[in-house]
Protein backbone atom coordinates (compact mmCIF):
# COMPACT_ATOMS: atom_id res chain seq x y z
CA UNK A 1 0.00 0.00 0.00
CA UNK A 2 1.25 3.45 -0.83
CA UNK A 3 1.31 6.50 1.41
CA UNK A 4 -0.81 8.54 -0.98
CA UNK A 5 -3.55 5.88 -0.91
CA UNK A 6 -3.50 5.58 2.88
CA UNK A 7 -3.40 9.35 3.40
CA UNK A 8 -6.27 9.91 0.98
CA UNK A 9 -8.18 7.01 2.57
CA UNK A 10 -7.65 8.54 6.02
CA UNK A 11 -8.90 11.94 4.85
CA UNK A 12 -12.08 10.49 3.35
CA UNK A 13 -12.70 8.17 6.31
CA UNK A 14 -12.49 11.17 8.67
CA UNK A 15 -14.74 13.28 6.45
CA UNK A 16 -17.24 10.43 6.11
CA UNK A 17 -17.50 9.97 9.90
CA UNK A 18 -18.08 13.71 10.34
CA UNK A 19 -20.57 13.85 7.46
CA UNK A 20 -22.54 10.80 8.58
CA UNK A 21 -22.66 12.13 12.14
CA UNK A 22 -23.91 15.62 11.29
CA UNK A 23 -26.33 14.47 8.58
CA UNK A 24 -27.58 11.68 10.87
CA UNK A 25 -28.38 14.20 13.61
CA UNK A 26 -30.09 16.61 11.20
CA UNK A 27 -32.05 13.98 9.25
CA UNK A 28 -33.53 11.44 11.65
CA UNK A 29 -34.29 8.74 9.03
CA UNK A 30 -30.57 8.68 8.15
CA UNK A 31 -29.65 7.98 11.78
CA UNK A 32 -32.40 5.34 11.93
CA UNK A 33 -30.95 3.61 8.87
CA UNK A 34 -27.44 3.78 10.37
CA UNK A 35 -28.75 2.32 13.63
CA UNK A 36 -30.80 -0.39 11.90
CA UNK A 37 -27.93 -1.57 9.69
CA UNK A 38 -25.85 -3.04 12.53
CA UNK A 39 -27.94 -2.41 15.63
CA UNK A 40 -26.09 0.79 16.58
CA UNK A 41 -25.37 3.94 14.59
CA UNK A 42 -21.81 4.15 15.98
CA UNK A 43 -20.95 0.63 14.77
CA UNK A 44 -22.32 1.39 11.30
CA UNK A 45 -20.31 4.62 11.10
CA UNK A 46 -17.18 2.75 12.20
CA UNK A 47 -17.70 -0.02 9.65
CA UNK A 48 -18.46 2.44 6.83
CA UNK A 49 -15.40 4.54 7.71
CA UNK A 50 -13.20 1.43 7.58
CA UNK A 51 -14.75 0.43 4.24
CA UNK A 52 -14.11 3.92 2.79
CA UNK A 53 -10.53 3.82 4.08
CA UNK A 54 -9.81 0.31 2.76
CA UNK A 55 -11.43 0.96 -0.61
CA UNK A 56 -9.17 3.95 -1.22
CA UNK A 57 -6.13 2.33 0.41
CA UNK A 58 -6.45 -0.72 -1.83
CA UNK A 59 -7.82 0.67 -5.09
CA UNK A 60 -6.63 4.30 -5.07
CA UNK A 61 -4.13 5.74 -7.52
CA UNK A 62 -0.68 4.24 -6.87
CA UNK A 63 1.88 7.00 -6.86
CA UNK A 64 5.23 7.49 -5.14
CA UNK A 65 5.21 10.96 -3.66
CA UNK A 66 8.16 13.32 -3.60
CA UNK A 67 9.29 14.98 -0.36
CA UNK A 68 7.02 17.94 -1.06
CA UNK A 69 4.15 15.69 -2.22
CA UNK A 70 4.20 13.65 1.01
CA UNK A 71 4.37 16.88 3.03
CA UNK A 72 1.34 18.34 1.23
CA UNK A 73 -0.64 15.11 1.72
CA UNK A 74 0.21 15.07 5.43
CA UNK A 75 -0.88 18.68 5.80
CA UNK A 76 -4.18 17.81 4.09
CA UNK A 77 -4.64 14.99 6.61
CA UNK A 78 -3.87 17.41 9.47
CA UNK A 79 -6.27 20.06 8.16
CA UNK A 80 -9.04 17.45 7.65
CA UNK A 81 -8.68 16.28 11.26
CA UNK A 82 -8.64 19.78 12.75
CA UNK A 83 -11.56 21.04 10.64
CA UNK A 84 -13.65 17.91 11.39
CA UNK A 85 -12.99 18.17 15.14
CA UNK A 86 -14.03 21.84 15.14
CA UNK A 87 -17.10 21.01 13.01
CA UNK A 88 -18.22 18.25 15.40
CA UNK A 89 -17.68 20.42 18.48
CA UNK A 90 -19.50 23.38 16.95
CA UNK A 91 -22.35 21.19 15.71
CA UNK A 92 -23.02 19.45 19.04
CA UNK A 93 -22.77 22.72 21.00
CA UNK A 94 -25.25 24.28 18.56
CA UNK A 95 -27.55 21.22 18.83
CA UNK A 96 -27.45 21.46 22.61
CA UNK A 97 -28.11 25.19 22.76
CA UNK A 98 -30.82 25.46 20.11
Amino acid sequence: MKVNRIGTGAIWAIISVTGMTIIGELVKPVKDVLAAATGHHWITKSVLAVIVFLLIAVTGRKKTLSDKGAYVLGMKVAVAVIVCIIALFAFFVWEFLK
Binding site: A13, G74, A78
Partner: protein
Protein backbone atom coordinates in the same frame (compact mmCIF):
# COMPACT_ATOMS: atom_id res chain seq x y z
CA UNK B 1 -18.13 -0.15 40.38
CA UNK B 2 -16.17 1.23 37.45
CA UNK B 3 -16.31 -1.18 34.52
CA UNK B 4 -12.85 -2.67 33.75
CA UNK B 5 -13.33 -1.99 30.04
CA UNK B 6 -13.12 1.75 30.74
CA UNK B 7 -9.67 1.25 32.25
CA UNK B 8 -8.56 -1.05 29.42
CA UNK B 9 -9.83 1.42 26.80
CA UNK B 10 -8.09 4.36 28.49
CA UNK B 11 -4.84 2.46 29.09
CA UNK B 12 -4.63 1.27 25.48
CA UNK B 13 -5.37 4.81 24.26
CA UNK B 14 -2.64 6.23 26.48
CA UNK B 15 -0.16 3.61 25.28
CA UNK B 16 -1.06 4.60 21.72
CA UNK B 17 -0.53 8.28 22.53
CA UNK B 18 2.82 7.53 24.18
CA UNK B 19 3.91 5.51 21.17
CA UNK B 20 3.37 8.50 18.86
CA UNK B 21 5.11 10.82 21.29
CA UNK B 22 8.02 8.37 21.05
CA UNK B 23 7.83 8.53 17.24
CA UNK B 24 7.98 12.33 17.45
CA UNK B 25 11.08 12.21 19.65
CA UNK B 26 12.83 9.65 17.43
CA UNK B 27 12.31 11.89 14.40
CA UNK B 28 13.72 15.02 16.04
CA UNK B 29 17.20 13.98 15.08
CA UNK B 30 16.81 10.94 12.85
CA UNK B 31 19.36 8.25 12.16
CA UNK B 32 18.80 4.95 10.44
CA UNK B 33 18.39 3.17 13.78
CA UNK B 34 15.97 5.82 15.13
CA UNK B 35 13.80 5.65 12.01
CA UNK B 36 13.71 1.86 12.23
CA UNK B 37 12.67 2.13 15.87
CA UNK B 38 10.06 4.80 15.07
CA UNK B 39 8.57 2.49 12.44
CA UNK B 40 8.15 -0.35 14.96
CA UNK B 41 6.78 1.97 17.65
CA UNK B 42 4.29 3.55 15.21
CA UNK B 43 3.05 0.09 14.26
CA UNK B 44 2.64 -0.81 17.95
CA UNK B 45 0.87 2.52 18.55
CA UNK B 46 -1.52 1.80 15.69
CA UNK B 47 -2.35 -1.61 17.21
CA UNK B 48 -2.92 -0.01 20.64
CA UNK B 49 -5.26 2.60 19.17
CA UNK B 50 -7.24 -0.01 17.21
CA UNK B 51 -7.59 -2.15 20.37
CA UNK B 52 -8.63 0.94 22.35
CA UNK B 53 -11.21 1.67 19.65
CA UNK B 54 -12.62 -1.87 19.96
CA UNK B 55 -12.66 -2.02 23.76
CA UNK B 56 -14.12 1.50 24.08
CA UNK B 57 -16.63 0.77 21.33
CA UNK B 58 -17.78 -2.45 22.98
CA UNK B 59 -18.25 -0.68 26.31
CA UNK B 60 -20.06 2.22 24.64
CA UNK B 61 -22.49 -0.02 22.76
CA UNK B 62 -23.02 -2.69 25.42
CA UNK B 63 -23.07 -0.65 28.64
CA UNK B 64 -22.82 3.13 28.25
CA UNK B 65 -25.96 3.56 26.15
CA UNK B 66 -28.26 1.68 28.49
CA UNK B 67 -26.69 2.41 31.90
CA UNK B 68 -24.73 5.68 31.87
CA UNK B 69 -26.26 7.79 29.09
CA UNK B 70 -29.78 8.00 30.63
CA UNK B 71 -28.27 8.86 34.00
CA UNK B 72 -26.27 11.78 32.59
CA UNK B 73 -29.10 13.00 30.35
CA UNK B 74 -31.47 13.19 33.33
CA UNK B 75 -28.88 14.95 35.52
CA UNK B 76 -28.13 18.66 35.81
CA UNK B 77 -25.21 18.15 33.38
CA UNK B 78 -26.89 16.68 30.28
CA UNK B 79 -24.28 18.47 28.13
CA UNK B 80 -21.73 15.93 29.37
CA UNK B 81 -23.41 13.42 27.08
CA UNK B 82 -25.06 15.64 24.47
CA UNK B 83 -21.90 17.59 23.69
CA UNK B 84 -18.85 15.95 25.29
CA UNK B 85 -19.62 12.26 24.75
CA UNK B 86 -21.08 12.84 21.30
CA UNK B 87 -17.89 14.62 20.23
CA UNK B 88 -15.62 12.08 21.96
CA UNK B 89 -17.21 8.98 20.46
CA UNK B 90 -16.83 10.35 16.93
CA UNK B 91 -13.41 12.00 17.18
CA UNK B 92 -12.07 8.73 18.51
CA UNK B 93 -12.79 7.13 15.14
CA UNK B 94 -10.19 9.41 13.53
CA UNK B 95 -7.21 8.08 15.48
CA UNK B 96 -6.63 4.64 13.92
CA UNK B 97 -6.64 6.20 10.44
CA UNK B 98 -4.12 8.85 11.47
CA UNK B 99 -1.96 6.18 13.11
CA UNK B 100 -2.11 4.00 9.98
CA UNK B 101 -1.02 7.02 7.93
CA UNK B 102 2.03 7.71 10.11
CA UNK B 103 2.93 4.00 10.07
CA UNK B 104 2.68 3.92 6.28
CA UNK B 105 4.91 7.01 5.92
CA UNK B 106 7.56 5.42 8.17
CA UNK B 107 7.35 2.14 6.27
CA UNK B 108 7.55 3.67 2.80
CA UNK B 109 10.06 6.45 3.49
CA UNK B 110 12.27 4.70 6.05
CA UNK B 111 15.30 4.95 3.77
CA UNK B 112 14.61 8.55 2.73
CA UNK B 113 13.52 10.30 5.94
CA UNK B 114 17.03 11.41 6.81
CA UNK B 115 17.09 13.40 3.55
CA UNK B 116 13.36 14.20 3.21
CA UNK B 117 13.11 17.02 5.76
CA UNK B 118 9.57 18.06 4.80
CA UNK B 119 8.19 14.52 5.01
CA UNK B 120 9.92 14.06 8.37
CA UNK B 121 8.43 17.35 9.69
CA UNK B 122 4.98 16.36 8.44
CA UNK B 123 5.26 12.94 10.14
CA UNK B 124 6.20 14.69 13.38
CA UNK B 125 3.24 17.06 13.06
CA UNK B 126 0.74 14.26 12.45
CA UNK B 127 2.25 12.33 15.40
CA UNK B 128 1.78 15.40 17.61
CA UNK B 129 -1.84 15.66 16.42
CA UNK B 130 -2.39 12.00 17.41
CA UNK B 131 -0.95 12.71 20.87
CA UNK B 132 -2.98 15.93 21.28
CA UNK B 133 -6.25 14.32 20.12
CA UNK B 134 -5.63 11.32 22.42
CA UNK B 135 -5.04 13.60 25.40
CA UNK B 136 -8.15 15.61 24.50
CA UNK B 137 -10.19 12.40 24.34
CA UNK B 138 -8.84 11.38 27.76
CA UNK B 139 -9.91 14.77 29.15
CA UNK B 140 -13.37 14.43 27.58
CA UNK B 141 -13.63 10.95 29.09
CA UNK B 142 -12.79 12.41 32.49
CA UNK B 143 -15.61 14.96 32.13
CA UNK B 144 -18.12 12.23 31.18
CA UNK B 145 -17.02 9.98 34.08
CA UNK B 146 -17.25 12.89 36.52
CA UNK B 147 -20.75 13.78 35.30
CA UNK B 148 -21.85 10.15 35.65
CA UNK B 149 -20.44 9.95 39.18
CA UNK B 150 -22.12 13.23 40.17
CA UNK B 151 -25.43 11.99 38.75
CA UNK B 152 -25.11 8.75 40.72
CA UNK B 153 -24.36 10.64 43.94
CA UNK B 154 -27.44 12.84 43.47
CA UNK B 155 -29.57 9.77 42.74
CA UNK B 156 -28.29 8.00 45.85
CA UNK B 157 -29.24 11.07 47.88
Amino acid sequence: MVHPLIGIHAALGELGAMAFLWVFVELLNPTEARIRRAKKVAFAGTVFLVLSWMSGGYYYVAYYGSLVKPLIKESVQPWAHQVIMEVKEHIFLFLPFLAAFVSSVLAEYKDKLEKYAKTRRMTMWVSVIIVAVSLMIAALGYVVSTAARAALEVKAG
